[in-house]
């Protein structure tokens, strides 16, 4: 459902994407890993039209992603994004954050949006935090609200841009847990992450990137347990690749 064909992108004179070709099927969970500066986040931002790209083509269910075309609004309501630094709206409560899109972009009836919003907060374990403002929530809680906000758009896919990188270690588990549940429910997900054990456990497919190119890709377990390329092996040697996911300490 997401197709990238030979995508190039430069920031000034630095070429960060040097011809990326990849695809994501419906219901698939794809993790993108790689050292910083490899262009992982830029790919997500291009798919959602937050960045433009110079050459090649990105399509979502046949619709071309062009951030300057009016169709971009349509694309963004179908493909949600979860950010590294949550980016919740601090002047609105958790519930208001979740229903902002349905209410003002999709023009959903108020009662229905509120009901769905509360249900989504319950789904990420934050039912009782509905009326709290984001600055009063922990990082893990904020990220779970952000996931609920993404889900509220009823997207066909969700892009996760290093969703646990800004979190204290003890809060990582609760966010990964929510994501794992989403994956098992069949949500299409593209996840940029450094959580190798999580990728091994949850992802269907893994893409390893370095310096703006895809170095290796394949079934997650296969790539992590038995990497074919020297660069992949070198990168993975820095991580514990297996083991249980960090425990989700509490549901709230």
């Amino acid at each position: 459902m997401i197709e990238l064909k030979d995508v190039h992108k430069s920031f000034g004179r630095v070429e960060v994407l040097k011809g990326i070709t990849a695809s994501v099927q419906k219901g698939e969970v794809v993790c993108i890993i790689g050292p910083s500066g490899s262009g992982k986040s830029t790919i997500l931002r291009c798919i959602n039209g937050l960045e433009s790209y110079d050459r090649g083509e990105i399509g979502i269910e046949g619709l071309k992603v062009d951030r300057d075309a009016p169709s971009i609004v349509n694309i963004r309501t179908q493909v949600s994004m979860v950010f590294q630094r949550f980016n919740l709206f601090p002047h609105r409560t958790a519930l208001e954050n979740v229903i902002e899109g349905p209410l003002f972009v999709k023009k959903e009836p108020r009662a229905q949006a509120f009901e769905r919003g509360r249900a989504l907060l319950a789904r990420v374990g934050l039912a009782e935090k509905a009326d709290v403002h984001p600055p009063q929530l922990s990082g893990g809680q904020q990220q779970r609200v952000a996931i609920a906000r993404a889900l509220a758009m009823q997207p066909k896919a969700i892009l996760f841009d290093e969703p646990t990188s800004a979190l204290d270690p003890e809060l990582v588990g609760e966010v990964l847990n929510v994501m794992q549940r989403l994956a098992s429910e069949g949500m299409t997900m593209v996840i940029v992450t450094h959580e190798i054990a999580f990728a091994r456990e949850v992802a269907d497919r893994l893409i390893f990137m370095r310096d703006g190119v895809v170095v290796e890709e394949g079934p997650a377990r296969q790539v992590i347990d038995n990497p074919q390329e020297a660069a992949t092996r070198a990168f993975l040697s820095h991580f514990h690749r297996t083991g249980a996911l960090p425990p989700a300490t509490t549901a709230s």
Partner: protein
């Protein structure tokens, strides 16, 4: 001192007429400058080159002309061009335009202080430019913009006295008229100064309140 209180009792009612006009000029030009300033600021951050350049040059032209010259232009030159304004209209229009430049820069600074991630989050749930402004950026920018906005209010209150130059009988002009007919300069201008100060104090307290609130969160 006794003489001062005696004079004060005499002149106070006349000066109060001036106070009324001072307030009218201040509020009128404050509203106008706020609306115009918002428009200039929105043009500036619109991302549309023509609009932002137009707004930037407009702001510079306005900033480069003294208020008093702007007032003379509106009141004395516009009739030659077929547009006759009353002194009060010209004063409100002139001060409003003059201050719109400062308001615009203030609003722009507030808008640009908002974290880029906020705008991206808004875009990622499908919000367009205007919805992002209205629902995400402006509500957060208000908190940043209010303290300097309060300062502009104080400056406008005092600068409304420049309307006296085009015959608006506000507080300063009323004072001058009484002084020149009674020669009681000390009493009159002391009283006028105290009356301006009295009007400023609530605004000064308001600014302090805004600053405290902006410091939170």
């Amino acid at each position: 001192m006794k003489g001062f209180w005696h004079d004060a009792a005499d002149f106070f009612p006349i000066l109060m007429n001036g106070v009324a006009l001072t307030i009218v000029v201040t509020i009128g030009s404050l509203l106008l400058s706020t609306v115009l300033g918002l428009i200039w600021a929105m043009m500036r951050v619109s991302g549309i080159k023509v609009l932002s350049m137009l707004s930037a040059s407009l702001i510079n032209v306005i900033r480069g002309i003294p208020i008093i010259v702007l007032l003379f232009y509106l009141y004395f030159v516009m009739p030659d061009l077929g547009v006759t304004l009353s002194a009060l209209q010209a004063a409100i229009l002139g001060l409003g335009i003059a201050y719109s430049a400062y308001q615009a820069e203030n609003f722009r600074a507030g808008i640009e202080a908002i974290d880029k991630g906020q705008i991206e989050a808004a875009q990622s749930i499908g919000m367009g430019w205007w919805l992002t402004m209205r629902r995400v950026v402006l509500p957060q920018a208000v908190r940043i913009v209010l303290p300097p906005y309060g300062n502009v209010m104080i400056m406008m209150l005092k600068d409304s006295s420049q309307a006296s130059t085009i015959t608006v009988a506000e507080l300063a002009l009323q004072g001058k008229l009484i002084a020149s007919s009674t020669f009681k300069n000390t009493s009159v201008f002391t009283l006028v100064a105290l009356m301006y100060l009295t009007m400023s104090i609530p605004l000064i307290l308001l600014v302090r309140h805004f600053e405290k609130r902006a410091g939170k969160r």
